[in-house]
Symmetry: C2
Subunit: 342 residues, 2 copies
DNA sequence: TTGTAAGCGTTATCAC
DNA sequence: GTGATAACGCTTACAA
């Protein structure tokens, strides 16, 4: 280790300046890679920096710059895997930079949510925040962020905002494709386990299902649908409801993977073979999809890529509007679908 | 500039001081709840603070205090659910405080890991960091943190450190109990899917299995064991290996839930009934355990509670050594276990 | 190309 | 009790 020149604690810019015989400002220029610097000076200072193990204090730097190099991630999402994938994507974007990621889960049913968020945003003074669905679908929430002068990017299942503030998929189209796959297999009664009210993704995915079945002259009546709230338990309940029909569907599209897993679970409990007696399709392609038996046919949401892009839009606001904003999903056929028996 | 209260940007302590006719220091005393303050003065200043919507700038505060109110969470863990549970626990602890959580996933196989961590720690200057297994088991890693003057708490499956720097479970005991449950059901050949080499948890859990079977005079030979790396895929591979034995086990303990899920998956692929033909026990009680079919008997690790405690130990180092350090696991019997057929 | 002086918004010291 | 004044470690004018 390098010997410390001065007192206790980490070396500061002053130590570097003194030891290399230049001014603070010159050291600052070295740190910030200013182009107008004598090569000799630069090397001299860099040598001292290396010897001292000097690292600029980000607090001081951020105070002087009047900006805070941290990105906030705000979510209220029942899907753990999605949250974690998003985190990974953000970290992909900020790796090697001076940015940090601060996560902030919230409860969207908390009546004090807006007050709490206001306090949080005012305190943390983020460079920008990323907001996941379903909170990302709440326009009032972004009015608040605007008022607080906080830059943001929303993640959504449809066109919720302008490209500078949005990373989105097209869930309607994706689901339509998935349901058409079921139709192509010969299914005529296709059930829907839809997501919770108030979720834009739930709405888009339901419409995708509806568009597909009606376009092919198949029934889209309400008796073929059941609502869950994106959890395994409610997926089971929905499955019980649909499989208990006098004339149950031969295939079910569930609005996300864990609900699809719930449906599969219920089918097996009842001694039904999946996919023999019932084909099931999910949405998300989170870890559970490949994990359950049979492996789940689903739609992959490029969460990590979207998250990475969201972070980059915050870090480079000047080009945010021009960067990719719509991200294609991918249909992932697995063993949970086959032609109907009869 | 000294004159305006209505300038761009947020109000500062100076604005508050000027408008309430006191000095900065007095405002600072109000903010920090100094006890030696005239009640009238306090109320006057508080009124101005409320009116202005003033929020202290944490950067400036942290610079002056020479501390950074953020906690780091460092992990390299294949188990997403566990990571997320841990995050939730930390957030439980820091909710309503000025602390923030910064997450930092790493790759333990990266040869440059230590250099990268050194840089990260030097830059972020955390109040303290929490480290998850398996990185938490690497003593050299903590020697580095010590050298950097960074406080830490390790999460582990055994007594890795003194109580001030540790939250731990007793995995050996927990697994021993779980395997004894299998024995009580009548199983005589109990297989083990162990975790990856170099994981203390893998070691402890294997020893728990070994202690249980040998204590009851049952075979603990190596042919009944297979190694995975805590992922679903390797769980499947281990299952293929154990079920392919000429005389396969009637029950398998897998060192975590996702590997157990892999074993169940393979059993079903082979047309075996779980638990009829094969009983399976996992470890962790992450979401997957209740999600697969049949629901998995497992051991619940109180991750969230441990995480909360870890954060509190960092925030209050003075009492860290006296706080709870050992956290009890809980056996969770579900449908994946029954007595053997023959 | 480099240095000087004046902040950034807070807290600590030490008077009054 | 309260208030000048000097830190804290860095950056941005503006000079030189």
């Amino acid at each position: 280790m390098a010997g410390k020149s001065g007192r206790e604690g980490k070396p500061t810019i002053n130590d570097v300046a003194r030891l290399s015989g230049v001014s603070k400002k010159t050291v600052s220029r070295v740190i910030n890679r200013s182009p107008l610097l004598n090569q000799t000076t630069r090397e001299k200072v860099e040598a001292v920096i290396a010897e001292l193990g000097y690292v600029p204090n980000p607090q001081a730097r951020q105070l002087a710059l009047r900006r805070n190099f941290s990105l906030g991630m705000i979510y209220d999402n029942p899907n753990a895997q999605m949250v974690l994938n998003f985190q990974e994507g953000v970290l992909d974007a900020i790796r090697g930079t001076e940015f940090a990621l601060v996560i902030h889960p919230v409860d969207r049913h908390d009546p004090g949510l807006f007050d709490q968020i206001r306090k949080f945003i005012e305190q943390q003074r983020f460079y920008g925040v990323m907001v996941l669905p379903p909170l990302s679908e709440n326009d009032a929430f972004f009015a608040l962020l605007d008022e607080l002068g906080c830059n943001y990017v929303r993640m959504g299942s449809a066109e919720l905002d302008d490209p500078a503030h949005l990373v989105q998929s097209n869930d309607r189209q994706a689901v339509r494709g998935a349901v058409e796959y079921l139709i192509a297999q010969g299914h005529k009664r296709i059930g829907l386990v839809e997501g919770p009210e108030g979720f834009r993704s739930a709405h888009e995915r339901r419409e995708g299902w509806r568009e597909a079945v009606t376009a092919h002259g198949l029934p889209a009546d309400i008796s073929l649908t059941a609502r869950g709230n994106y959890t395994f338990e409610t997926g089971k309940e929905a499955g019980i409801s649909l499989l208990g029909l006098p004339h149950p569907p031969t295939a079910i599209f569930a609005s996300n993977d864990v609900m699809a897993a719930g449906v599969v679970h219920v089918a097996r409990e009842r001694g039904l073979d999946v996919p023999g007696d019932l084909s099931v399709v999910g949405f998300d392609d989170t870890a559970i999809a490949a994990t359950i038996w049979p492996p789940l046919t689903t739609v992959r949401w490029p969460i990590r890529t979207m998250a990475r892009s969201a972070a980059l839009k915050l870090i480079h606001p000047e080009t945010a509007g021009k960067e990719q904003s719509l991200f294609p999903t991918e249909f992932v056929p697995r063993a949970s679908v086959s032609p109907p028996k009869n």
